[in-house]
């Protein structure tokens, strides 16, 4: 028997989903208020592209969500990675930080929403702060783990080569922690994207999260579905960008 290429099987799954979807919606098995047909979704999407949603172009909804997510993500990463590496490498820094981190780590980011609204209001700053907390948390934890688990042989080799503690940190601990750092980046990215949508569900005038919650309230079901699909595709694209960066930077991983 010939081997079937995996890509063919994956394509078959997608085709099957579309066929079932088309049949149940056009055959009247499920009403359009619960599940719009593929062709109805397509036309709604075309209308969204030309008219936008609530007087705001679609690309602006996407853009503002991406802007909030990326700002918070980058700020969180910029603070989380260096502090994680330092606390993972240095016992004293770890002892100083660990009580705070141990407390913050298990709190779901969404739980910070009321506090952030109280301190920073419902505007941009509050949303970005919320995503910053999320991103910082995961970037920090993973960078910490990476720095704390550098194989002892690397550290010993570096010491016998005469590297100073600072050089060991920059030239050994940091690169050795890169696989962990990328794990942290991917989780932080995924959660930043999830949290921006959650933050936009309440008190936002623009953004994909606003679009889907607002559309649901006025029963524009196709818009809700398109919004969810867009959130999924963009999340996937962001992950793919990071995975590509990972495999070119951490080229030794798993070898």
């Amino acid at each position: 028997m010939k081997r079937i290429p995996p890509i063919l099987i994956s394509s078959a799954t997608i085709v099957a989903i579309f066929v079932v979807w088309f049949v149940v919606t056009n055959g009247g098995l499920v009403g359009p208020t619960y599940l719009p047909s593929p062709q109805a979704l397509f036309w709604s999407f075309m209308r969204l592209l030309t008219n936008g949603y609530q007087r705001t172009p679609l690309w602006e909804h996407i853009g503002i969500s991406l802007f909030r997510a990326l700002c918070g993500f980058l700020l969180g990463v910029a603070v989380g990675i260096p502090t994680g590496l330092v606390t993972g490498y240095n016992r004293l820094a770890d002892a100083a930080m660990s009580p705070v981190m141990a407390f913050i780590r298990p709190i779901p980011p969404i739980a910070f929403i009321p506090m952030v609204v109280l301190y920073f209001g419902l505007g941009e700053v509050g949303k970005i702060v919320l995503i910053f907390i999320t991103s910082f948390n995961y970037a920090h934890v993973n960078a910490h783990a990476g720095a704390a688990h550098v194989p002892i042989a690397y550290i010993r080799a570096a010491k016998t080569l005469g590297l100073t503690p600072g050089q060991i940190f920059r030239k050994v601990v940091f690169p050795a922690a890169l696989p962990h750092i990328f794990t942290g980046l991917k989780v932080a990215m995924a959660l930043s994207w999830a949290v921006v949508v959650a933050a936009e569900l309440v008190g936002a005038q623009k953004g994909l999260g606003f679009m889907i919650s607002d559309a649901a309230q006025v029963f524009q079901i196709p818009v809700v579905f398109i919004g969810i699909a867009l959130i999924g595709f963009i999340g996937l694209a962001l992950n793919m960008v990071l995975s590509a960066a990972e495999s070119s930077i951490v080229h030794w991983k798993g070898r």
Partner: protein, 288 residues
């Protein structure tokens, strides 16, 4: 340190008493021409955390190694060979006694004592060339100097043309040759090798052993070579120290009077075969 240690130590001491006759007498340890000296060294690993047992890895170890000498430390598994080497490297400090380099206590690792590790310790994010020059570069040696040295060493370990490869693109034997080049580039006075060829097949091992001898002729470092392979110990060393089982101490010291470098014909010489037989017998007594 745990208060029960002296008692354990005494029991261990008595157990190993029959071998004491062979142990180097303390008086000839630590003369001026000695490069590395272990004086009455004991190492007790304390269990971290709860009050579990401590492990006495080596006890009253006396070793003196002359400048430019190649000494093999041979012994059964777990007898404390790596422990002894780690104290010379400065990775561990002795619980008792002194570990001296040129008469001064060893307190930390440093570039005067290069180490070739058994396991992969090359940095996978650096190329072969970058691995070899990392240490000298970080210590501020001028690029002119280290480029020349690296080129020469990579040629000597037969890795010309692999400068831009990453460690994972090399075979195990090639990786160990990179480690040797990385160790020798700082022209260390002492080269520590802990079962450097343990993971290699016997043909590759023999090539590596010959390489070590060739490089010794050129650089003349003091080499401390740890192995549990009797033939390897005889082939590479001027002197072999046979350690007893844990807590390790030197049970027997044997000199190998043969000029260096040595070729494969040495392996079949009467001298080699005779030494091998007597060492194997002595080693067998340690592995019950």
């Amino acid at each position: 340190m745990s208060s029960s240690l002296p008692k354990i130590a005494k029991i261990m001491y008595r157990k190993s008493a029959p071998y004491l006759a062979h142990v180097q007498s303390r008086s000839n340890v630590g003369r001026a021409e000695d490069k590395v000296v272990l004086k009455d060294v004991s190492k007790n690993y304390l269990k971290s955390g709860s009050s579990g047992d401590a492990t006495l890895a080596v006890k009253s170890l006396n070793i003196a190694i002359k400048k430019a000498e190649i000494v093999s430390i041979l012994g059964p598994t777990g007898c404390g060979k790596s422990t002894a080497m780690n104290m010379i490297a400065g990775f561990e400090l002795p619980s008792q006694g002194e570990v001296l380099l040129d008469g001064k206590p060893i307190l930390a690792p440093g570039p005067d004592r290069a180490v070739v590790f058994q396991q992969a310790s090359l940095f996978p994010w650096l190329t072969v060339f970058e691995n070899v020059v990392l240490g000298v570069k970080c210590r501020g040696v001028s690029p002119d100097t280290y480029y020349n040295r690296a080129e020469h060493l990579l040629d000597a370990v037969k890795l010309k043309g692999f400068e831009k490869h990453y460690p994972y693109q090399l075979s195990g034997g090639m990786q160990q040759r990179v480690q040797i080049a990385r160790a020798l580039i700082s022209e260390p006075e002492v080269l520590l090798m802990d079962e450097p060829f343990g993971a290699l097949d016997s043909q590759t091992r023999l090539m590596m052993q010959e390489l070590v001898l060739q490089l010794w002729v050129e650089y003349q470092p003091t080499i401390i070579f740890i192995t549990h392979d009797v033939a390897e110990a005889i082939f590479v060393s001027d002197r072999i120290l046979l350690m007893s089982s844990r807590p390790g101490k030197v049970k027997l010291a044997v000199s190998v009077d043969e000029s260096k470098p040595r070729g494969q014909e040495f392996l079949t010489s009467a001298k080699f075969v005779e030494l091998q037989a007597s060492l194997l017998t002595a080693l067998k007594q340690e592995v019950h």
